[in-house]
């Protein structure tokens, strides 16, 4: 064939469309960019977009179809962990290649997957360390608040162990969960207030996912919990999510990511401009206000690294590409040069902590000097001792 097919497996309908549609867009944009630069191995990339519709079995079915029917060279896709878990066996069986661009709970390592999002130690732990630092407000008490599913539960388990290692007692940790789609945060906010009033400096670590964030932040604003009193750091709230929130009352609340749209450097500027232009050209709704965010950057980085690896391997053969992926570097929009770890298939990523600005963007208030290596097997979880790479 004179083209190389690339599968794009993001939900365009159902509950996850809200987050994943932008990833499909950025993947298409990156493919255009690569094609404009001459393609890969002299061939153009041809995107195959399908809609797994936020339905997990459908994810597996679509994955099988992409790999077995369309014979795509690689798949860029998934957001939720369960969607990834659902397609994994298919990728293993058919020896496919999946690039997963979203921060997740770790505890997984597969030869056929490259993880371009953050592992817990590249997001959650630095964020909490920051909150504990004097600069971050010196928090001594923590509310671990999340949506009731695996990613928040795991993250919080890791954080609890981490906090314990830092001498925070169980009495100073409040862990609370809400169901998917929970829309009424009155009780929880009251509880946080009460907890915070009981003593030392308190911070909230939020792993609330999806649609619940809007009601959560609205309630937070109206209940008068200010970031200066009880800061909230979130791991699933980025620029895209903040588009749906009136950010004025949220000034100063935090998010930890490996990229922010507000990062000021030439790569990022080019990235944003390219995306804006693409959105306009393709008549994306509200094209003039589109934003970029961390998983989008991860998708972008992933596609480029795959291209580099294919060129290094001289083939799209999965095993060869996997071998060539290790050690690939890419100057990412975050401003850092990211490296793909050969042994654990995760990117070395910088950690950035940002505070919400009135315009829905983040002010970076803290960042690591260097990209840090991922620990998909968290040392804070029993039984992971000695686990390293593949």
């Amino acid at each position: 064939a004179d083209t190389i097919k690339i599968g794009i497996l993001h939900s365009l309908s159902g509950t996850m469309a809200i987050s994943e549609t932008a990833l499909k867009n950025v993947a298409l944009m990156t493919i255009e960019e690569i094609n404009a630069g001459g393609g890969v191995l002299g061939k153009k990339l041809e995107p195959v977009v399908v809609d797994p519709a936020s339905n997990w079995p459908l994810f597996a079915e679509r994955a099988r179809q992409l790999l077995a029917q369309d014979k795509v060279a690689a798949v860029f896709g998934c957001w939720t962990s369960v969607s990834r878990k659902s397609v994994l066996p298919v990728f293993k069986e058919l020896n496919g290649l999946l690039f997963y661009p979203v921060q997740y709970e770790g505890e997984e390592l597969e030869k056929n997957v490259f993880y371009t999002g953050a592992a817990p130690n590249q997001q959650a732990i630095p964020a909490v360390e920051y909150l504990m630092s004097e600069e971050g407000g010196g928090a001594k008490r923590f509310v671990l608040l999340g949506t009731d599913y695996v990613y928040p539960r795991t993250t919080n388990k890791i954080l609890r162990a981490f906090l314990k290692s830092k001498g925070v007692s169980d009495a100073d940790i409040l862990e609370d969960y809400t169901p998917f789609g929970h829309a009424d945060y009155q009780t929880i906010i009251a509880r946080i207030k009460h907890f915070a009033a009981e003593g030392k400096k308190t911070a909230v670590v939020s792993t609330i996912n999806g649609d619940s964030n809007v009601p959560f932040y609205k309630e937070l604003g109206n209940a008068g919990l200010k970031a200066t009193d009880v800061p909230v750091v979130a791991f699933s709230v980025g620029e895209e999510e903040l588009r749906g929130v009136d950010t004025k009352p949220l000034l100063g609340h935090l998010a930890a990511w490996n990229y922010f749209m507000s990062v000021d450097n030439p790569q990022n500027k080019a990235f944003i401009d390219k995306y804006r232009a693409w959105a306009k050209k393709n008549a994306v709704p509200n094209a003039d206000t589109v934003v970029t965010n961390d998983p989008m950057e991860a998708t972008y980085v992933g596609l480029h690294m795959w291209k580099q690896a294919v060129e290094k391997a001289g083939s799209t053969d999965v095993d060869k590409v996997i071998a060539a992926m290790g050690g690939q570097t890419f100057k990412a929009p975050s401003g850092f040069t990211l490296t793909m770890d050969a042994t654990n298939h995760h990117l070395h990523k910088p950690v950035l902590i940002g505070e919400v600005r009135a315009d829905g963007q983040f002010d970076v208030v803290w960042q690591t000097q260097q990209p840090i290596r991922a620990q998909p097997w968290s040392p804070f979880i029993e039984g992971n001792e000695g686990k390293q790479g593949l």
């Binding site: 009424d184 009251a190 009601p215 309630e219 929130v245 100063g252």
Partner: protein, 530 residues
């Protein structure tokens, strides 16, 4: 450092700022905090201006020199002299929460000398929460000069909190007694700390040596506890009512289209969405054309949301549902299809992301009860709005002929025609009203929760539960069901957490229907069971 600050505090209020002090703002993190604190103690317009510049992100450094970044160039922060370097040369000083808090406190200290009592009150409130011991002299001075009773009361709490640590037992006693009037959990903790023992076993000594102070502290704690407990119960009740009012607004339109007309309207959630999107468009129109009246956009959105949803409802009714009366099964299928179409249409037209809808300023914030319990204005307004919509519908259904016609048509369509009711027109009108009411629900929801293409799917289950639990066709039932579920859910949530509470609420619904198989307001009578 404390001594330095004390010394500084003694300086006359209008003294020129010490450049060394100000330069600290350009230093490392601790130096910045110290400098801000000092500015607060020092007072004066210049200090205020500097704090403003810092918070506004207009302070930076050029080669270690502190500068103000103005639109027209850079100025030295202390001397005010213009600098040659251009604005890009300066490194902006980022302000984070910790600094912002310090700035807030410093500002409050400055505002204590404001001419406006309201500003002084706000300042005193901030200090009551955050004042550091360094500010005790500032507080004492302000208290001495203060004429306004409300401000004095707050200042006295603020001072008392600090005085609990005073070496003078008499002062501590007074403070402990004064704090009994507070309803602040933090104060309670301060008092509780006095009642603890230091050390082990027999060697243990009281943190507070004076027994009298301890007794006063214990009494004050009890008083605070009582007040907080009361406020919290009231707060939970309010959250229950508020949740109930939201459930009700989500369900009211359905109570007409389904409850009264019998259309199993799976697209009800999407009618809510239409109302919310209409609100969004109105907000946009205000932003671009009437920015000075932006706060009123919500009011303008009331007719807009109603009409938009009503029009969609009319289209649905005319094109699809009208062919399905008396075939409720089919209405389930068709409206399920309509719902898919409407969601995707919203996605294609507006994009898949959530839309931002801001509470107008008069709906932001809340009234604070004791103990940090806040009743947010948006929820209070929505509670009132729910009552308003409810009364409207009730009047429409019970007091107008249209209401009677609608009920008659659903009970016996052919016969309604045979007494002269233009059934087709009544259907359209009723469906339009039901849809419009759903639009109003969407408007209300947009002020609380997210607005996006799939927002409706989150409400459809709840809406049906409310309508059914109340007893189909029973408006009063829907009201009781919504408020009941809201309150039950909130009390359970306080006790068992949100997830378990939600499960328990569902189990409760199942159990409740066993007792009342036709809902709360079961229709009794011989026709009900045939």
């Amino acid at each position: 450092m404390l001594c330095v600050l004390m010394a500084l505090a003694a300086l006359p209020a209008r003294a020129a700022l010490d450049p060394a002090l100000v330069q600290g703002l350009g230093g490392d993190f601790n130096a910045r905090v110290a400098a801000i604190d000092a500015l607060g103690v020092a007072g004066g317009d210049e200090a205020a201006a500097l704090l403003d510049a810092l918070e506004g992100g207009r302070l930076g450094t050029v080669d270690g020199r502190l500068v103000v970044i103005a639109p027209d160039g850079l100025r030295d922060a202390t001397s005010g002299e213009a600098l040659a370097a251009d604005a890009g040369a300066a490194t902006r000083i980022t302000v984070n929460n910790r600094l912002r808090r310090a700035i807030g406190t410093a500002r409050a200290a400055l505002a204590l000398s404001s001419a406006q009592p309201a500003q002084r009150l706000a300042a005193a409130d901030t200090l009551r929460e955050n004042a550091s011991p360094a500010l005790l002299p500032v507080l004492a001075r302000a208290l001495a000069a203060e004429q306004d009773d409300a401000v004095r009361a707050v200042l006295r709490y603020a001072t008392a909190k600090l005085e609990l640590a005073s070496p003078d037992p008499a002062l501590r006693l007074k403070a402990a007694q004064a704090l009994g009037g507070s309803s602040d959990a933090a104060v309670k903790n301060l008092l509780a700390a006095l009642l603890e023992k230091r050390g082990d076993g027999a060697a243990a000594t009281w943190v507070e040596a004076d027994a009298e102070v301890r007794a006063a502290a214990a009494a004050s704690m009890r008083a605070i506890d009582r007040r907080i407990g009361l406020a919290q119960t009231a707060g939970t009740l309010f959250s229950g009512l508020s949740l109930g009012s939201i459930l009700l607004l989500a369900a009211l339109g359905l109570a007409i289209t389904y409850g009264v007309m019998g259309v199993i309207n799976m697209a009800h959630g999407e009618l809510l969405m239409v109302g919310a999107y209409a609100t969004f468009l109105v907000q946009g129109a205000f932003r671009s054309h009437l920015p000075e009246y932006l706060d009123l956009y919500v009011l303008a959105a009331i007719p807009a949301a109603f009409l938009a949803a009503a029009l969609v409802g009319i289209a649905m009714e005319r094109l699809v549902l009208r062919h399905l009366y008396g075939r409720p099964l089919e209405s389930l299928l068709a409206t399920w299809g309509l719902s898919l179409v409407l969601i995707q249409a919203a996605r294609v037209l507006f994009g898949p992301q959530n839309l931002e809808l801001a509470n107008p300023s008069w709906m932001s914030g809340g009234v604070e009860l004791a103990g940090g319990v806040v009743l947010p204005y948006n929820r209070i307004v929505i509670l009132g709005f729910a009552a308003f919509v409810l009364v409207l519908i009730w009047l429409m259904m019970q007091k107008t002929r249209l209401g009677m016609f609608v009920r008659a048509v659903t009970q016996n369509r052919p016969m309604a025609g045979c007494v002269g009711v233009p059934t087709a027109r009544v259907d359209t009108l009723a469906f339009a009203i039901g849809s419009g009411v759903a639009g109003l629900g969407g408007l209300a929801l947009s002020q609380i929760a997210n607005v996006g293409p799939a927002m409706g799917t989150g409400y459809i289950v709840d809406a049906f539960m409310v309508v059914v639990l109340g007893g189909v066709g029973q408006l009063a039932g829907a009201v009781w069901a919504a408020l009941g579920l809201g309150i039950v859910a909130k009390f359970l949530e306080g006790w068992a957490g949100a997830v378990v509470a939600k499960i328990l609420v569902l189990v409760f619904i199942i159990a409740f229907i066993q007792k009342r198989p036709q809902g709360i307001f079961a229709l009794k009578g011989r026709f009900a069971d045939s």
